[in-house]
């Protein structure tokens, strides 16, 4: 159905694509694997006409496709689901589907469109209400709106750009099911991902990109995780990090019956737990079950409405973020672009955000600029931040390097307690490995860590004790040695009998 030959594209001096071939047949799901920056997104943008290629040919459904824009690509039968959705939040599902829908009438036909959405929703099990406002829908639902949009626009080939990167495990299952049904109806899918398991689960063929070129193509049957990973990074993945057992340290953080009610809605049911030095408490759970509220209450961005928090003998329940920082608390928020970094500011300024007001970074109200740069260089080296200089804006760095800035800032202070909320979200395997390594190093140095993630794999490999959040309640933390995966899965899925929020 699709035939791409010798695709080349350069951005300035960077060769994003250096002669890529890609074939996709009808009724086939092709996985496009590769680390961040390997050229996957560029290739798909070229196909969809968002950017134009320097060289190469594209044939789609036996017709050449060149010099096209997104409009022509859609008309030809291509559909793209971007990682960042292109939906209008203040509009309904139906309005979003009508936006740019093919047709010649100047008038909108909301009723007909809504019934078509219901029909497709039933066919593919999308479970979408045409009248819902996008702003009210969770992330996974919005993605399905994007899918129905593409289908109703007559897409025969769907490009899914890292569609699972912020879905919870059940949502991923649901999406894979939808993809299978789309395939069975004869549509083709290009599935961009760097999650090996998902690619192996759903694709029939995998194309691995590395440094802008095809590193290998293989059938999924017979492919192994290790083999694919090797192709992706061009070397063997380092083995999982062995963690040393640390002697259980003293309790540094104690949370007692902490609860949060906002505008009459209970966000957190009374939560109690303790955290020891040198321990990682991993908190699993599907996004939106109170993890953000818990993290922000601990970090001081929200104030709990009941209960208390004690950090090393200090009652910090109502303490400001600054006071908590002084007492040794560090925080890696879930959204690095808006919460952790000021992306328009330089690397060195971002590194200084926690302590620019104290010596040696400032003296007598003046910033010691030379020290900013010196520390930025030192931190960049220690935390392997790849930036062309300390004065470059954080915005221009890759996600992995941005997160390393946050890590450097937070871990560089040797915190007593660190709250890490999805710290490896959206990072490529190399950067993920680095972040995990640093967190384990902090643990070894006696730091107490709360690691919140929706990825069971991360939670199971990292946690000394594991707890689950569901509906604003936290289960009793369980030792990693006695933990039962099915039990965790059931708790995440909302099995009430296993959650004892108020206990412990």
């Amino acid at each position: 159905m699709l035939e791409m030959r010798g695709i080349k594209k350069a951005y300035g001096t960077v060769q994003a694509n250096r002669g890529i071939d890609l074939d996709v047949a009808a009724g086939q799901i092709v996985g496009l694997l590769g680390e961040n920056g390997s050229g996957k997104s560029t290739l798909m943008k070229l196909l969809f006409g968002v950017v134009s290629a320097d060289a190469g040919t594209i044939r789609f459904k036996d017709k050449p496709l060149s010099g096209h824009g997104p409009a022509q690509a859609m008309a030809a039968g291509l559909g793209m689901i971007h990682q960042h959705f292109t939906l209008v939040e203040a509009m309904s599902v139906t309005e979003n589907v009508m936006l740019g829908a093919p047709g010649s009438s100047p008038w909108l036909s909301p009723r007909e469109t809504a019934s078509r959405i219901r029909q497709e929703s039933a066919t593919y099990g999308l479970d979408i209400d045409p009248d819902a406002m996008i702003g009210d829908l969770p992330h996974g639902r919005r993605q399905r709106v994007e899918i129905v949009k593409a289908i109703l626009r007559g897409a025969d080939l769907l490009i899914l750009d890292e569609p699972t990167s912020n879905l919870s495990p059940p949502e991923v299952e649901g999406l894979l099911g939808i993809m299978a049904r789309l395939r069975d109806q004869g549509r083709a899918i290009v599935f961009i991902s760097h999650k090996l398991d998902e690619v192996i689960a759903i694709c029939s063929e995998v194309v691995v990109l590395r440094d802008g070129a095809v590193a290998g193509t293989c059938r999924v049957e017979g492919a192994t995780r290790a083999g694919l990973a090797r192709m992706m990074v061009g070397r063997d993945m380092p083995p999982p990090i062995a963690r040393e057992a640390t002697a259980a340290g003293r309790n540094v953080l104690h949370v007692g019956q902490m609860a949060l009610t906002e505008r009459g809605v209970e966000r957190l049911a009374p939560i109690s737990f303790s955290l020891r030095a040198g321990e990682i408490l991993a908190i699993a759970g599907i996004d939106g079950n109170g993890q953000t509220e818990l993290a922000e209450c601990l970090a001081g961005l929200r104030l709990p409405t009941a209960g208390g928090i004690d950090l090393d003998g200090h009652d910090i329940t109502l303490a400001s973020v600054g006071e908590r920082t002084e007492l040794g608390m560090a925080y890696i928020p879930v959204d690095r672009a808006t919460m952790s970094l000021v992306t328009g500011m330089s690397v060195s300024d971002n590194l200084a955000l926690r302590d620019f007001d104290k010596p040696p970074l400032s003296r007598g109200g003046y910033l010691a600029r030379s020290y900013f740069a010196e520390r930025a260089r030192e931190m960049s080296q220690r935390f392997a931040i790849k930036a062309s200089g300390p004065d470059i804006a954080a915005r221009t760095l890759s996600g992995g390097n941005q997160q390393k800035i946050v890590l450097a800032r937070e871990i560089g202070r040797h915190p007593a307690v660190m709250i890490a909320h999805q710290p490896v979200w959206g990072l490529d395997p190399g950067a993920t490995h680095f972040v995990i390594e640093q967190i384990l190093a902090l643990r070894a140095a006696g730091g107490a860590i709360i690691y919140i993630s929706s990825s069971l794999e991360e939670v199971m490999t990292l946690g000394d004790r594991i707890a689950v959040m569901q509906g604003g309640r936290l289960s009793i933390p369980i030792d990693r040695d006695t933990v039962d995966l099915t039990q965790i899965g059931l708790m995440m899925a909302g099995d009430d009998s296993l959650i004892h929020g108020a206990a412990a």
Binding site: M74, T86, V88, E89, A90, E95, L99, G100, W107
Partner: protein, 307 residues
């Protein structure tokens, strides 16, 4: 207060609201597509100027209105080019255009007529009484004995509402104001759509200015819009970015202005300058009350950059 006074107030309200209405509906188009309509004041004044001059020179009111729309649109295209195409700051550009038109109109007024500002006397457009309605006692003659342009101002809300809610183009325009990336991904050019919206809005604002010059005042004087563009801007916000709401907003401000004018003739022991502040004080009060719940188009003020 007797019936005649009420009728008198109603007439003044309609008279004062009409220019505001055109300006507010024009500004609404621009804001719905994601550009702050700070430049309405300048576009109105440009319309007032070109409308008055052309009606004066050619002796034709209809031609005056047509050229006023053109004048407003020309000013709008300047703004559109600067903000949408060149991504200049919308606030600063809007204010700059306001100052530019203020100076340029005063300069041209003198330049065109040999150094001295002429006294322009204009005949207002003829009235067009509506059958039956204009015969309603007391209120009939004041409300339904208007010129065609007044009816147009109030009727414009119908096609504009239909356009925004029921047509493909209207949906696209709103999408550009909410999330230009989404409109772009749907195959539209947000920059072009924003430019069209600003220019069309400018034409309407220009008409508003012409109504002010040709009908309400019957002359052109330096800086005669005198903040009306900003009142129209406030009316858009008070009306929560809907055409019907904008009409309501304009009528509220028109009514307060009418009250202020009448209060002066009733001889209240209050300084006339204080009375003149009333519409603006009301605007501030309403905006303070409304801003918490009102929802701006999400992408207003944010330039669209194609990645």
């Amino acid at each position: 207060m007797d019936l005649m006074m009420i009728a008198d107030l109603a007439a003044a309200t309609v008279r004062i609201s009409t220019p505001l209405l055109f300006a507010a509906l024009g500004g609404l188009l621009s804001e719905k597509a994601g550009t702050f309509a700070v430049g309405i004041e300048g576009m109105m004044l440009a319309g007032a100027f070109t409308g008055a001059i052309s009606a004066f020179v050619f002796g034709n009111v209809a031609l005056g209105f047509a050229l006023a729309a053109l004048g407003g649109a020309a000013t709008g295209s300047l703004l559109a080019f600067a903000t949408a195409r060149c991504r200049a700051d919308q606030m600063v550009t809007g204010l700059a255009v306001n100052v530019l038109v203020l100076g340029l109109s005063s300069f041209l007024l003198r330049g065109l007529f040999g150094g001295r500002a002429p006294v322009i006397r204009l005949t207002p457009p003829g009235t067009w009484p509506l059958p039956w309605l204009s015969e309603i006692p007391v209120m009939g003659p004041v409300l339904f004995r208007q010129s065609a342009i007044v009816y147009l101002a109030f009727l414009l809300v119908v096609p504009l509402t239909l356009f925004l809610t029921k047509t493909r183009a209207g949906l696209t325009l709103r999408a550009v104001g909410e999330n230009p990336e989404a409109a772009f991904a749907a195959g539209y050019d947000p920059i072009r759509i924003r430019m069209i919206a600003i220019v069309a809005g400018g034409a309407l604002a220009g008409l508003g200015g012409a109504v002010l010059a040709l009908q309400e005042v019957g002359s052109f004087t330096d800086g005669m819009t005198n903040g009306r563009g900003f009142i129209a801007l406030a009316a858009i916000m008070v009306g929560r970015w809907t055409p019907v709401g904008a009409i309501a907003g304009c009528l509220i401000f028109g009514f307060v202005s009418a009250l202020e004018l009448r209060a002066q003739s009733w001889g209240l022991p209050v300084s006339s300058y204080v009375m003149q502040m009333m519409p603006y004080c009301l605007a501030l009060a309403l905006l303070a009350g409304v801003s918490r719940s009102a929802r701006l188009p999400a992408a207003i003020g944010v330039p669209f950059i194609r990645h």
